[in-house]
Symmetry: C2
């Protein structure tokens, strides 16, 4: 994702309207290059941003904040009034937490480090559970039943999808949108055949690029405007850990890989 | 599943109407005993059977034939005009094949033994693939793309769900209703996280007991009547391998476990 100004467009009236506007953009599927001075991408992948939003925050609105909104809206469409957010201290997890609260949706957040329990408590999560606690499965089952959490936002996958689903009420759905667990087999996710058959558990995925690709420009604008309103209201905010030039990028990326929940690294080509 | 005559019922008008009727029945969840002379079960789990149906065929209408119909109807509801039937020579697989044909739905059937390729060819399957062929994955991909097979009926699970889904077009759904693969972990199913996220693959289960439990008596009667019409028309037929008394049951069960596609074993308590 990047932030640029539209120089020229070959996309009808919508393209004309976009021209001259500051936009957050992402690369076309399979084609990279948005870090270059000029880049070409689809009109649908350019989200015009409001003046009130800083360049840095604007550069982050595609991807995580949009994913948070889409996931919570999918949970609402699935009829759930409560969600479980696996890896709740991630940017998408926190965003999901904020947006869920705004929509009156309760949330159980799981975290993998004790420090993040406090971070989520400060955000006012309904319940935070540390996955390494001995009582984790038991507590999750207790809470998921108590507040009827029937949708799981899962960015961990591997064993976690079946482990967390197993603790949730019948007819729950996992929305898998990432695989933070480092496994040998990059493709492997596990599900409990018994839970899928006898407890009506379902697994589906979410990929923002597909969502935006399938959406009309109007739907994309609506999503973008919703996300920016949340930034303007101070409800959404992307944590930024560092701002670096190309020279220090490798080092900053290494830090990010090890400490993802510290926040994003912003690349400033001209600094 | 068993065949009995309703002696008495405590289920309102519907129960009164059932009394005296010959019914195929299954046991209540967690409560066994339908092989006894008298058994108690829910009214919803008793399907009145037509006179034209023999006792033996009638005893088999619950479970497999109903599952075949429900799975194909779920595929139709999901908007697919073509299905992949994994383990296509099973009773549910064959039933699904017959019913799909009736509904104008094309089918790719996979089989695990060469002998069953011929069995399915004789049934007029659109395409039969032997899972042990070197070209299996390639052929499956070719055929699934060609005839746009977007729903998988999967009774094998374990590695098969991800293997077969991987060969199918984007946005396909696996309906998992069994786990024929004998694995160490009875719960384990595998899915490709990448396919679920980036190719919009979904996994859901099907369990007849839940379907019937959630359905109204009218919906159950409609399903039962549909299945029996198919038996009457000679479209459905349960293959019966043996009829045995309690004395020879253990031996017959061992044979069944090893040769499931030979057909069902009917237990005749009074023979």
């Amino acid at each position: 994702m990047a932030l640029k100004v539209v120089e020229a467009a070959n996309a009808g009236l919508y393209g004309k309207w976009l021209t001259g506007k500051r936009v957050a953009l992402s690369a076309q599927h399979g084609i990279d290059g948005v870090w270059a001075e000029y880049a070409i991408t689809q009109a649908n992948l350019c989200l015009p941003v409001r003046k009130a939003l800083s360049d840095e925050q604007a550069a982050t609105i595609i991807v995580n904040p949009c994913i948070s909104v889409c996931l919570v809206e999918r949970a609402i469409a699935l009829g759930s009034k409560t969600i479980v957010i696996n890896a709740g201290a991630s940017q998408v997890g926190k965003g999901g937490r904020y947006y869920a609260k705004l929509k009156g949706i309760k949330a159980i957040a799981t975290v993998r480090s004790a420090a993040n329990v406090e971070v989520l408590q400060a955000l006012g999560a309904d319940c935070e559970l540390l996955t390494s606690d001995d009582s984790f499965d038991h507590s999750l089952k207790h809470w998921a039943k108590k507040i009827k959490a029937k949708v799981l936002l899962d960015s961990v996958a591997a064993d976690d999808t079946s482990r967390v689903l197993n603790a949730m009420p019948n007819s729950s759905t996992a929305l898998v949108y990432g695989r933070l667990t480092e496994t040998q087999d990059v493709l492997s996710g596990l599900f409990s055949v018994a839970d899928v058959i006898f407890r009506d558990m379902r697994i589906e995925g979410f990929w923002l690029a597909k969502y935006i690709g399938d959406a009309s420009p109007l739907q994309v604008l609506a999503l973008s405007s919703k996300v920016q309103k949340l930034f303007a209201q101070g409800i959404f905010k992307t944590d930024i850990y560092a701002r670096v030039s190309f020279d220090d990028f490798a080092q900053a990326l290494d830090h990010y890989a090890e400490h993802k929940s510290d926040g994003k690294v912003i690349l400033l080509p001209n600094s």
